[in-house]
Structures are given as C-alpha cells and as structure tokens.
C-alpha cells in the first residue's frame, strides 16, 4: 500500500495516446485519475491489472491506461471480464461501463455478474445520458429532464442502480462522485480489495449533452451542483436531492441520494469456487 500524499498515477497513462478524446470539463477524466490513484495506492503491478471497457465515452478510458486492457462491445464489458477472471483468477479485473452501456443494453449482464458474485470491480459512470452517440435518453435520465430523444422532458422514472445491484446480489455496493475525488479514490480502493462483485456507481457529468440540453452550465457548474444534492451515508440525510448535474428544479427536489459504501457482505466468490471444483475433479482423475 502506497501512502505518499501525491499518488504517482501518471506512470499508468499511455502518454502517446494523450490528450484523451473526452470533451472539455467531462467528469470521466476525473474518475479515471481517481482509479489510477487507487491502483497506485494498492501497489498493484501493471501486468496484474486488467481493465475491461464496453462502448461509450466512459469505456474510452481503457484506451489511455497502460494495463492489460480489453475494449469490448456495447454492454458486454462484464461478460468479457467474467471470462477473464475465470480464466486468470490471479488478475485484478476492473470493468468500466457507462449508464446506458451497463444499465440498458448490458443490464442483464450487470445483474447476473452481481448474482454470481464474480470478483470483478465494476465502475458504472453515470452521466444520466448517452454521451457518445449524441445525448439520447438513458435509463438514468431523471424524469422531466431533456435529452435529444426527450425534447419535452423524460416521462419514465430512472433507475437507482445501487438499489438494483444490491437486490441482484452484489456483495459490495458504493456510490462515489466525480466532484469528490479523494472519497472516490478511497471507495475504489475498497472495491478492489473486496472479494466478490464490487459495484461502484460514480456520478459523472456530461456538459456537452446533459448539461447543455438542461441548461446546467459547463464542467465547473455541474461539479458544484453535484455537491449540493448528495449526502455522505454517514451523515444525517438532509433534504438534499441529487441527479448528475442537477440544478434546483422542483421536479426532483425530493429525491435524495446517498454516497459512500451502501452495502457490504461476505458470500462465496465464483472464480474461487470454480477453481476449487476444477481442482477436485482433476484430483479424481478421468472418468
């Protein structure tokens, strides 16, 4: 465990690929830095870390890091990560998915990975919209908020992904914020250390689409708004509400979101069980 105040995370960046493709002020870059700091803190060797991404702005992050990386198909980061963890259980496997990627097209994969309790750390970057494809409505877009496909405001309610994942069986569930990068780093460290499926919803910002459509300002304004509408789980839950980059509109004022570690339990982990079974069967010899 590295303890120096300033993490030397830049060694993990693929300098030849920088600057990254993300828009000015996009919260995803802050999350990426927090993830690299967490990995540095844990002192994991680069060739023992695998980062798997799906499709979307968040999944672009795998292209800028010097670990073992897989850039997979839309919504399918977790199946790839599951296979990888089963085949190479010694690796530390992280999956980075977006809200559309993880909760819509890959929604089933997400809940089943949680149910199986495979030892993968899943970061779901929630910016409340489909960013890369042009700002379409996502399952996380709050009711009444505007997107390219809901110009009159979204009608459907949005997912609370942490509740969903806890119900599906994830043994570690946490929520972090791009506007609170030190807390976020600590949460990612705990997620990686946890044996079993660790799910972290990270509230991020998309100033280019979500911010622009909903007149929430640019990067700095959206980060500030984040802080106003959440509460650390340990603190008394005030009458605060959160949606990513949410400004004070009456529609969502009574929604309060907590951040921090929301759920933690110990339950058998899949890859360990599989390998125990393999060892036992090999011991018995061919039948």
């Amino acid at each position: 465990m590295n303890t120096a105040a300033r993490a030397d995370y830049r060694r993990y960046l693929r300098l030849d690929m920088m600057p990254h493709i993300l828009c000015p002020g996009c919260g995803h870059g802050i999350v990426l830095q927090a993830m690299l700091r967490a990995i540095w803190r844990l002192g994991l060797p680069q060739d023992q870390v695998a980062v798997v991404g799906g499709i979307g702005c968040s999944s672009r992050m795998v292209g800028y890091v010097d670990f073992c990386t897989l850039h997979t198909t839309h919504g399918r980061a977790l199946p790839f990560a599951t296979g990888l963890k089963l085949a190479r259980p010694e690796l530390t496997v992280l999956a980075i998915v977006g809200d559309g990627d993880g909760l819509a097209i890959g929604g089933n994969h997400l809940i089943h990975a949680a149910r199986r309790n495979i030892d993968v750390t899943c970061l779901l970057l929630n910016n409340a919209i489909y960013g890369m494809t042009g700002g379409q409505v996502a399952p996380t877009t709050p009711t009444e908020m505007v997107s390219a496909t809901t110009p009159g405001g979204a009608l459907e309610p949005s997912f609370d992904s942490c509740k969903l994942l806890e119900a599906a069986g994830a043994s570690f569930v946490a929520r972090g914020l791009s506007s609170a990068p030190i807390d976020l780093e600590a949460l990612i460290v705990q997620g990686i250390q946890h044996q079993g499926f660790s799910f972290l919803e990270v509230l991020s910002d998309c100033p280019t689409y979500y911010g622009r459509y909903n007149r929430l300002g640019e990067g700095p304004e959206m980060l500030q708004a984040q802080r106003r509408h959440v509460d650390w789980v340990a603190a008394p839950l005030a009458d605060k509400a959160f949606v990513p980059g949410f400004a004070d509109t009456a529609a969502v004022a009574d929604v309060a979101l907590q951040y921090g570690v929301l759920h933690r339990e110990t339950r058998p982990e899949l890859s360990e069980q599989v390998h125990r079974l393999i060892a036992a069967s090999v011991g018995e010899g061919p039948t």
């Binding site: 300098l15 993300l22 000015p24 870059g29 830095q33 010097d66």
Partner: protein, 302 residues
Amino acid sequence: MEQGSILLVGVGGQGVVLASAIVADIALRCGFDVKQSEVHGMSQRGGVVTSHLRFGGQVHSPLIERGQVDVLVAFEWNEALRWLPQLRPGAPMIVNLQRQVPPGACRDRKSWRSGYPAVALDALARQVGDLRVCDALAIAGQAGSPKAANSALLGVLAPLLPFPESVWLDALRSHVPPATVTINERAFAAGRSLPFPEETRRHAGATRFSANGFHGRDESAPPRLEVIAVWCKGCDICVRACPTHVLALNAADKVAVVRPDACTGCRLCELLCPDFAIVVHDAEERAADLTAANHSGSEARG
C-alpha cells in the same frame, strides 16, 4: 512504384470514401491487387473519416502500419495534424486547407471560441519532407462546384502514383454522379496542374514526430505546479476550484499559473482536472526526482 500505401483522411461529407474508391478502382484497372478499409461514423466525436488503401502485386493486410504511409492525403487541416504520425518520414503529404471545427473543440459555446489548431504551415513543413498544400475548395468552386474538392485533391495525388492519366479520367467519370462529370473533370485537371516545384516542397526538417506535444516536464514552470498545456482543454474547473486563485485561463484558453506564491499545495486543481494537465509537486518529491534524474538520466516507467 510497385506497391503503395495511401491514407486518405477527412471529415464526414468531404467525399473521402468516394475518392478512395476511385483510386482503388484505378489500381484494379491497372492490374494491381488492392485492399481498402475505411472508418467512418462517430460524427459526434468530430466526424473523422479515414480510408486505408493499399495496392501491389499481392496485398495481405488492408491496414497500413503507423509510420508506413507512402502518401497521406488530408482533406482537412485538423485531420492532417491528427494523422501525421502515420506518414513515413520523408514521404509526400497533400493537405487541403479547409478547416472544419468539430463540436468537441468548441470551448465556450457562448462566444464559439474554439481550440481548433491554428494553421501553421511552416511548422508542418519542418516535419514533412514533401508537403503539397492547396485550397481544394476554392479550386473546385472555380471548376463549378465546391463539392468537387475531392476530385481536385485526386488531381494533386495523380502525379505521385504510377497510373496513366487516361485511367484516372475513366475511373473518375464512372464514379461521380453523371450530371457532375464535367465539373469533376475540370476540378481534377486544375488539381493536376498545380505546380509544386521541388525547391518549395523539400525541407530538410526534423522527421521525428510527436503525436501530442508531450515532451515531459516544463522546467520553466513554477516549481510546485507543473502544467501540461497541450493536454489542457480550458474547461475552467481548476481555475474555479482553486481556493487561492492561483490559476487562470490565458488567451489561448489554456491554464496559466498567475499567482504562484499563493499556492498552498492543496492539490484540488490536480484532483479535479479531467485532463491530467496539472501536477502539484511537493518539495521532497522534487528533491527525490532530482536525485533519481542525476542517477539514471531518465524516468523509469513501470
């Protein structure tokens, strides 16, 4: 030229794919084996369109390796810079001076200031051995329609490839819409006849490319704060987050250290910068860095 690898790059709507198809057809008509592979779409991310085209006796891979492009045809200025590292050192590069600012480069949507790279032909000429610049849009406009800019660029490309003029014209005629054949022929001829005298295009410049301008730490910056300006996107987050107003954006929309003495070393700017453009060093770390540098001469990665 028994074989060739040509990379055509531009943005959506410029006719990159059509131009590439025409050259592929010409190479086929001349009896070469041809492989072509293109990437388009993702227009939300700036609309890059690229087409790899390889011809020869037998072509195995449709993709050209980095640094192995024999001719780079850039339909747009920003794309020219983006794909520069693909070019074989010393190989010719054709650049159309058209500029198309992608949405992602607009830093401030109120004033539409943008971070689009300035046209710097001298700097480019120092990196490219054989640079052929033209304003294809204007040439095509004179020929009858700005849409024929891709034909003008094919005209500039023609003398660099081993195909007879008549085959170029036949292929051009059969690919462009019938009503525009004359205009495209005129644009092609105008591009073909552009003079690129030897002495103006050969520059004995450096041929080592730097993809992103990152050359390590800027030693002229104040000791505590390291700013990598080429990575900064001018989002204003660090400027607004700094409790002691150390930072500001400069005229180029890059972060600048304006009150270095006021910096407390709190690291908020570094932690919140989405683009890894600020690093806050502490005194011990700098001392350790210097010792390491004196011992090894370079920073070890790993």
